[in-house]
């Protein structure tokens, strides 16, 4: 399946792409369109674009929405959702110490990557690591 999002990926879009490929659609193909672009390519599922089905809902990040829409129940993924939320959305209460650093790193990762696709591939490693570490702490 084809998936589309705005270019210049950050913490939430990197997390979403990892989630999509790892848990929703292993054959996912990603496309990037300029930020603010309203006309979406046909036949591709848009995500993390204001106003589409798979975007922020009730002040929570798109990663949250994906978990709900695709009925993913893994508690570790819900922890990651909480972390991404705090990194991506303005929150008054923060309970995940990893969050502020994660946002910073993802921005830097995009900056040193040749394009969004490369940033995605590299970002996947961060989320794989996050998942593994949360799993280690949960046991």
């Amino acid at each position: 399946m084809k998936w589309v999002t705005w270019e210049n990926v950050g913490v939430d879009r990197m997390a979403c792409a990892w989630l999509i490929r790892r848990f929703i659609d292993p054959k996912a193909e990603f496309r990037f369109i300029p930020s603010g672009e309203k006309s979406l390519p046909k036949g591709a599922e848009p995500f993390d674009i204001p106003g589409v089905r798979l975007s922020h809902r009730r002040g929570h990040c798109t990663f949250h929405t994906l978990l709900r829409e695709y009925e993913l129940k893994d508690p570790l993924l819900h922890r990651i959702a909480q972390i991404v939320d705090e990194a991506d959305v303005v929150q008054e209460v923060n309970v995940e110490p990893v969050a502020p650093g994660l946002d910073f790193l993802c921005r830097g990762l995009r900056a040193i990557s040749a394009d969004d696709m490369q940033a995605f591939e590299r970002g996947a490693l961060i989320y794989e690591a996050l998942y593994a570490q949360l799993a280690a702490e949960a046991t």
Binding site: P50, R57, D88, V89, V90, P100
Partner: protein, 144 residues
């Protein structure tokens, strides 16, 4: 190259009032400045742009209306005042931290969290920030 600003203007249904408070608190948390009780302003950066975009989407989701503009001042005088407002806002927090640090039983953990929060909204890098940072690290007992 003139500085670019983001302007957010919104309207939320009057009830329930909790939503208005919710959005207002988020704007304060972002360190946005409210101009003449009408328009919320932030310097334009990729990060502030992303935050404002989602906030606008959230307001629309609530059944409200939101306009988000990117703008360049055509008159430079008031812009300097605006920058000052941002600086003063952050420096007030920095000063409060410095005052609290002078107390005997200062809560260093809480104050360093305040500092980290204020630092995120310190859009014009006030030199006072560095001062607070040094005061906090020396309170921790770091030797120079």
């Amino acid at each position: 190259m003139p500085r670019s600003w983001l302007l957010l203007l919104y309207k939320i249904p009057p009830k329930p009032t909790s939503r208005r408070v919710y959005i207002w608190r988020k704007l304060k948390r972002l360190g946005a400045v409210l101009l003449h009780d009408a328009v919320w302003v932030l310097p334009d950066t990729p990060r502030t742009r992303e935050y404002f975009q989602w906030l606008a989407a959230e307001i629309i989701e609530m059944g409200g209306e939101a306009w988000l503009w990117e703008s360049h001042p055509a008159l430079s005088g008031p812009e300097a005042n605006l920058v000052q407002q941002f600086i003063q806002q952050t420096e007030a927090v920095y000063r409060a931290i410095l005052t609290a640090l002078k107390k005997k039983d200062a809560n260093l953990a809480a104050l360093s969290r305040h500092y980290q929060q204020a630092k995120q909204e310190d859009y014009f890098q006030s030199p006072l920030g560095q001062h607070v940072r040094e005061a906090l690290t020396s309170a921790r007992g770091d030797r120079p």
